[in-house]
């Protein structure tokens, strides 16, 4: 999608200037992926639709805060959607994945990612595989499914304190691995 990658910064810049058609174009270029992310975290369509709506209203308001130094436009958008989805989850009483064991959740991710031919994902997977299993699962449960530390601790049957300390150490290892 190289053409799209060059389009998005321009669309976001124009959105920040109040250009509604550009905002519309930004939405139509990115909403399918972002809706997928919202669905992954929320599990339920109506909630994911709410989340997508909230996220784009936030994008409209915060477009002027975007700075390329903060990463790609798509990553910035995904971050907003993920945070909206996580906020939404905190208000829910029961979460769909509350009934799935971590292995089910994560194996579905692994299965899908095997067919992904992206080099970046393979590099990340390789470095994730170098982590101890529990911290690796913790990273994936947090990023992919928006679980809190407490929920991660409960799912992995670890003390919360252990989740906290091992998570940062593992992330540092991940960072070093990716930089090598």
């Amino acid at each position: 999608m190289p053409e799209l990658t060059t389009k998005l910064p321009e669309l976001l810049r124009r959105t920040a200037a109040g250009d509604k058609p550009a905002f519309g174009a930004l939405y139509h270029a990115t909403s399918a992926k972002l809706f997928g992310v919202a669905l992954r975290i929320c599990g339920q369509r109506e909630i994911a639709e709410e989340v997508l709506q909230e996220a784009f209203v936030a994008v409209w308001g915060r477009a002027k805060d975007y700075d390329p130094v903060r990463g790609s436009v798509m990553t910035w958008l995904v971050t907003i959607v993920r945070h909206c989805a996580i906020d939404q989850l905190r208000h829910q009483q029961s979460r769909p994945e509350g009934h799935s064991a971590p292995e089910e959740l994560l194996s579905s991710f692994v299965a899908v990612s095997r067919s992904d031919t992206g080099a970046e994902l393979h590099a990340l997977q390789r470095c994730l595989d170098e982590l101890d299993p529990q911290p690796r699962r913790a990273v994936l449960l947090a990023y992919l499914y928006g679980l809190t530390r407490d929920e991660i601790a409960a799912k992995l049957k670890m003390p919360v304190g252990t989740v906290k300390s091992s998570l940062w150490r593992s992330l540092e290892r991940l960072q070093r691995c990716l930089e090598s």
């Binding site: 905002f23 519309g24 997928g36 903060r70 990340l124």
Partner: protein
Amino acid sequence: MNYDRPELGERLAAEYVLGLMPARARRRFEREIAGNATLAAAVAGWSERLAPLDSPTVEQMPPAHVWHRIEQRVGSAAPVRAKAPKRRLGFFLRGFGMAIAAACAAIAIYVAVNPTPLRDEVAALAQKTGLNGWIASARHAVPDIGLSTMRLGVPERERPRWLRAALLLTNDALPLTAAQPAHSR
């Protein structure tokens, strides 16, 4: 919070990107990022590092009503959500003097016009003072809009002409109702 220690910044950035920060802390952190290039770079780093995890996620078309709803919420000047009056307030204040803005963090101006003749008067006032765009769009969106101000905190002589005129005009014709002061940012 001291963000100068690089490891702390990296750790918080990772926590932010992973979604492990509570909502309030996250909003504070986002304000920090805006003014701190090192933190912004740390957040970008973690976002890009973990972003490949999203690539297997299947794209799905959202239903059309999601976009319609977004358009409604960002497109109209009318308060679709409770927060909207603060936006209109901002428009007012920018156009009509920093003095008011500086003096009245707690002001809430919320315009309401009831009987039609009064609406026309306010519209005429708006035209003279440049409030046009705001009044026009408010009128379309809200059937009854009424003028009420509370605790201006600015001496009479410093109030802009439009406000003095509006207050004179509405003094007898409209009850002035107390509105909730806007929360200062």
